[in-house]
């Protein structure tokens, strides 16, 4: 760092200056003298508290001074490493600058993607997790975390209504994965092994041509799984959703039959509970009937919408989930848990293990003195695995079932308020559709475009440029953050997702005003 960054100091018993000229050698595990370690940790907590306090000021910017260019950030930070290490004051000063310049995704007016706010319980969960620095691969090194994960996954599967099976009376299988894309990959891997167990050893041979049928609005990780598994994206057949963003069972069946007519073997159907952009819920029950008829694995990607199972008022959106073969559900989205925490749930007992196990002797010794079925490592595609369960378990314990039900209902209520507020602001704001869930999709239409015929190409082309321009101004000012994209034939539109419990109706109105302010002259 070229200049010395001063660290603000709000806790008067933390003497940050004491860290000057102290180095990592004054910290645990290099010394057993706890003095510097204590000061260092308290100073970090002090910074974190200041950051969180600022987030509480709803009018404060989401990005202080706006998004900078790479060159500007490279000037602010010295990313390069020197021969000699920095002292601990410098290390903390870098942290302070990071907290100062970061995109504040926990801010109530960050609705670009995930937006859960700073979940204090997740934060404490991560602090304890990092302190223990355990590894999930075997029971012997992480007994409590493995039992905790098994218990929570069992509960999540209970929410799906899956039956108990086998000698251990388990309601299925699963694992926490580093994100929904990998959970979806797990689903395709399991389905592949279920349909074609010979591929694990033999590979794709003898003219076998596996195929997948998915909704066009499925998350892109479904298609990528086909690339990874060497099935090929050409063998992924997409079904067009209707204007509400949902596929129909008839269209799925049609596509399966079409694939069969081409000599392909459809082994996997994926639909979505809460699509990425629209937040639409595909009809699970109806599609499951078709999948059963053709003996095809049904995967439901509920990375986003799976948490609707948590409220009796919303769980009807997932009707039929008891018939799914696999289910992705990300607590790091709607349940406010910090990154990363994604569950892949599999209704079948042994397929995950059979598909992925390699029986590495140095980790999974067959002669251990405890039940080796408690070693989860051999059913994952990782080896070492981070403990993602603690923050989720603590968060769920703290809220209880009723707390999460209320949380989901509150977010739905906010989305309804957002939608109604936008309707009142016509013709500047135009809805893409009535929100099926929490996603609110809309265009901003500046005066200059309001008298155009909406069916013309010119209107669409001009409207397409509005959202990117507003976003650019937004990022430069840093006041708020919202995402936009094209979809199907729609020109660029905004997608607002409010899942931060700190976001108020006042914030919603303020955000609508900000968009208008930034876009009215376009």
């Amino acid at each position: 760092m070229s200049e010395k960054i001063p660290i603000a100091n709000s806790i008067n018993y933390v003497h940050v200056e004491a860290l000057n000229e102290r180095t990592y050698k004054n910290l645990v595990p290099y010394t057993s003298d706890m003095k510097t370690t204590k000061t260092f940790l308290f100073a970090a907590i002090d910074m974190i508290l200041r950051y969180i306090t600022e987030l509480n000021e709803h009018d404060s910017p989401v990005i202080k001074n706006g998004l900078r260019t790479p060159a500007e950030y490279r000037k602010m930070f010295t990313f390069e490493i020197d021969d000699q290490g920095s002292d601990l004051y410098d290390i903390l000063a870098n942290c302070e600058r990071i907290l100062e310049t970061t995109v504040r995704s926990g801010h109530p007016r960050f609705i670009n993607q995930l937006s859960q706010g700073v979940d204090t319980i997740s934060l404490v969960g991560e602090m304890i997790t990092s302190t223990i620095n355990a590894n999930m691969f075997t029971y012997e090194v992480a007994p409590v975390f493995n039992l905790m994960e098994e218990s929570v996954l069992t509960h999540m599967r209970d929410c799906c209504g899956w039956p108990k099976q086998g000698p251990l009376s388990k309601n299925g299988d699963g694992v926490l994965a580093p994100g929904g894309a990998l959970s979806n990959l797990y689903a395709v891997l399991a389905a592949k092994h279920y349909a074609f167990p010979q591929i694990k050893k033999g590979g794709i041979q003898n003219g076998l041509r596996p195929a997948m049928v998915i909704s066009k609005h499925c998350h892109y990780s479904m298609k990528r799984a086909a690339a990874i598994l060497s099935i090929g994206t050409d063998q992924v057949y997409e079904v067009d959703p209707d204007e509400s963003g949902r596929v129909t069972a008839e269209n799925i069946e049609e596509k399966i039959l079409y694939c069969q007519s081409l000599g392909l073997t459809v082994f996997f159907v994926a639909i979505t509970a809460g699509t990425t952009v629209f937040g639409a819920f595909d009809p699970i029950e109806e599609v499951s009937v078709i999948c059963r008829k053709y003996n095809v694995w049904l995967h439901v990607d509920g990375a986003w919408g799976g948490s609707t199972l948590l409220s009796p008022k919303t769980k009807h959106l997932l009707q039929g989930i008891d018939k799914a073969d696999s289910f992705t559900w990300n607590p790091h989205k709607l349940m406010s848990i910090h990154l990363q925490c994604s569950a892949i749930l599999i209704r079948h007992l042994n397929v995950l293990q059979e598909a992925n196990q390699m029986c590495a002797g140095y980790l999974f010794q067959p002669d251990k003195h405890y039940e080796t079925s408690l070693d989860t490592g051999d059913k994952t595609i990782q080896c070492g695995r981070h403990v993602d369960i603690l923050k989720l378990w603590l968060g769920w314990k703290a809220r209880g079932h009723l707390g999460y039900a209320e949380h989901v209902e509150g977010l739905v209520e906010n989305a309804k308020f957002f939608y109604e507020a936008l309707l009142k602001r016509e013709p500047y704001f135009r809805m893409v559709m009535k929100p099926p869930f929490i996603n609110v999709c809309f265009w901003y239409v500046p005066s200059s475009l309001q008298h155009y015929d909406q069916t013309t190409l010119e209107y669409k082309q001009r409207l397409d440029k509005v959202a990117p321009k507003i976003k650019e101004r937004m990022m430069n000012s840093g006041t708020m953050m919202i995402g936009y994209q094209r979809l199907d034939d729609y020109p660029n539109f905004f997608r607002a997702i409010i899942s931060n419990p700190a976001t108020t109706k006042g914030d919603i109105v303020a955000m609508i005003d900000t968009i208008h302010e930034l876009g009215h002259d376009l």
Copy 2:
């Protein structure tokens, strides 16, 4: 929790009792009153400090009261979730019990696997990371972290001596992945796309039979990658290492030719820099000549041994790494960074992006107002991606190049001391081999076996039972932890890996004594 767990309170300005009957609703982001949030975070730090202080007592157990049965842990914790949430005192009391009962992998006498100690800088890095809760997928939501990752990966590639290429003068590509198994998977994915770009769309077709040649001592994730990619584990041809655990280039070539004679197309060779059990380093330079000759991608798995590049005294072990096409290197192993932090480095500029990109419009809008090449999300197989870079960058900044060189050299020195101490304890301790690196592999031979002919089957069968029995006693007493396994024709032997800078020569002697104590009567 059935009974109330008391929380020890060592910081007199933290009033843990104030958390009684306070709930998550009294925390950010549910309230903007910071009072409870402050108390909660400080109480957590207090617990963490107590835990770390205990680790400093080298004679304290690695598992307090030893490893318990699942039933015992289930009694100690109420894993089930209730309708009503727990109060914050209960949440912390659960954390306290977790810290009390956990396997203390940061303990100086935990040498079962990764054993870096509690790295205070990693811990602070994780605290800041979780507070910001950023997502690596795009520049716009994590600008500083993306630039930081690019800078650190560039430096890691510089350590490999890879040349600058292309209009941006980059020395290759790469990404941080959730663990070495996934880094290795990335390598196979990249190599597959490099050799057979048609598979991404078309799948494995027309009788194409891709094959991989690996060392038999490669990490099991290499073979699993073949299962995931539908190449099939039968198409993974293993080369036997010599008695030092290293493959020869001649044997690799022989296997490539053998595959060709079967009509297979070898596209990938994997060797290891620091094998899992022995810590052996395959001869990269020699193997690279063969790979160039047959136009095959060379992957070096340096998950464990990659960090030898950090010292001028050890980097010769990786001679030839400048010719590798891809390289796995886990800072969460030898560099003491907390889980998870693994780098996959690729010498080629665009293959990662070309192999994995799906161009999802809602994340990777082509009309962004900044260079979209800074959006790393489309070259990964994740979507959301945890920030793993901050803890690594802070740790590296704090130590500097010289600090890490000293760290690596110190560990090698400790391993040498361990080896020599074991030699002095013959015939109770018998080496499997002279340690090529930090891994120290040995048998404990109780008196009852010392007069056996070592070449007999009975000796081997009896020796095979010794390590599991000692491990069982060790886990029940909780005094220390060390791993064991069979390998090739060797009966079960111990593998000690000391990578915790807190582990002293005194600890090493104490651990040798403990093994003797637990095993002498067998």
